[in-house]
Assembly symmetry: C2
Homo-oligomer: 298 residues x 2
């Protein structure tokens, strides 16, 4: 059997990626309490919000206020998505030290989601990344639709490999290769990582899975075998698909932690504290949270 | 990477193990149509019902009629659970060729669930298995609570190993090592199989997972690495926990098939035909079926 990593970093994306896909407008004070509870659970990387146009994502219009009022714990990193230079400037003004850029592996998805093609987005991100690094910030890259696109269907391993390499060349410290529509299966994960780990350090690759078809944890298990040691999770499974009640969007952080701890892998995070944070937020969300761990706890 | 099995047998347990845990009483005609649709999907092993006291499981009181009226396809095996000699006799009278016995790895669960201890159940099953084999039937064994018990908590690998060996000695062709409460994680699966495959052929071991904490497919993936090539599934995820809406009980057959096919493993089963069979039954069940594949299809 392959050797598993001794420790894994779990990147909590619930406050941004999760809430962005929830239809209920969450009060700012609830978001702040949510982030503070997540911090207290032992999570060391929390994606807090995004500095995007409030017209695009009204849910995250209060990004600056959230950053101002959360309790920042020493050693924990709090990040924000920035789509362009204007977003970066707002992030810096809000004293944000970690930003994220969001590229796509599918041209159609890139145009539909961000109103610009892949090349154009890289032109923007080159400037954003340089400026962020010059200002002393750390930059993480997302590569969305890396396992399939709702418009174009299959996405080739070669394309994902090439775009991941290009994001790393921009200066991001890590690329979160993302299964935006939850279509990836472990066969794809193995195929992709077999190629990637030959030429890129596993430490520069994170994986971001959605549990839409129930594959997320199997995909994580497949990736652990290749030495991948950073995975995104969303507390409670926040961000579930609104069209299918009970269906899951983001992989629930609790479910991820339960599996990792079962494998003897250290995360430094208390799973029930994450579950409690999600439960405390649930009344404001307006539907049951899809995390199976949290449901089984009830 | 370990080599995956080229083909996997999926044992469909929805009509028995699934329906037994659903509160809505399903009309006999619906059950028959369900089994016939599952047969048409390419499934070669279908657990149809149980010959138990109708007082214990009213849902399955129509076992004989279901067996009489389903269309048995050549090459497909249709099985029934039998708890004792009386059940076996009823099964034989109903022209059943494949029966199952249900032992537990936890003494308390055995007493609570079947009103007899483990040793007493083995005494019964010794007679049942001998008589069934003498009558030309094939016998499958379940070992329930093999990864944890709702009353006793942890169950040791040594105990599971010993009881699996004893079931095989009775003459069963295969033991479905079962995570009855959906608490297993891939670390446990690896620990158990590491010991088992040293002394038992992998071909005699099947695994039966519940998705209560979302681990089922990760557990399957872990087991494939040890050469295990038989897994139980329940169409639609039938048998979900009634106390947690949207929470899953049995691993959904569709979700299992989607992962296996993605890994390039042949099952001979058409996933959308299984999903269609579950959907056709869903109105009679009275709640949304938890299969994530089927939910994502809608």
């Amino acid at each position: 059997m392959p050797t598993l990593p001794a420790a894994v970093t779990v990147v909590e994306v619930g406050p941004r990626d999760g809430l962005q896909n929830e239809s209920a407008q969450i009060p700012t004070a609830e978001k702040i309490a949510f982030v503070d509870r997540l911090s207290a659970s032992g999570l060391r990387e929390i994606e807090v919000s995004a500095f995007v146009s409030p017209k695009w994502i009204p849910q995250l219009a209060d990004a600056a206020e959230v950053f101002q009022r959360i309790q920042r714990r020493p050693g924990t990193r709090y990040s924000a998505l920035v789509p362009n230079m204007a977003g970066l400037e707002r992030a810096i003004a809000a004293d944000v030290t970690d930003v994220e850029i969001f590229a796509a592996a599918s041209e159609t998805f890139s145009r539909t989601n961000t109103n610009r093609g892949i090349e154009e987005s890289f032109d923007t991100y080159r400037d954003v990344t340089s400026a962020a690094i010059a200002a002393g910030l750390r930059v993480r890259g997302y590569l969305s639709t890396a396992f399939g696109c709702p418009f174009e269907g299959a996405v080739s391993v070669d394309r994902v490999f090439a775009l991941t390499a290009r994001l790393l060349e921009l200066g991001v410290y890590e690329v979160a290769v993302s299964d935006t529509i939850g279509i990836a299966h472990p066969g794809q994960v193995r195929q992709l990582l077999e190629q990637m780990v030959l030429t890129m350090p596993a430490s520069r690759i994170a994986l971001h899975f959605h549990d839409t078809r129930g594959m997320a944890l199997a995909n994580v298990l497949a990736a652990l075998d290749y030495g991948i040691a950073t995975f995104d999770g969303s507390a409670g499974g926040l961000g579930g698909c609104p069209y299918a009640p009970g269906a899951s969007g983001n992989l629930a952080t609790e479910d991820l932690l339960y599996m990792l701890h079962g494998l003897g892998i250290d995360t430094g995070v208390r799973v029930d504290a994450v579950s409690d944070a999600a439960r405390a937020l649930a009344p404001a969300i307006g539907h049951a949270l899809p995390s199976r761990y949290s449901q089984a706890r009830s």
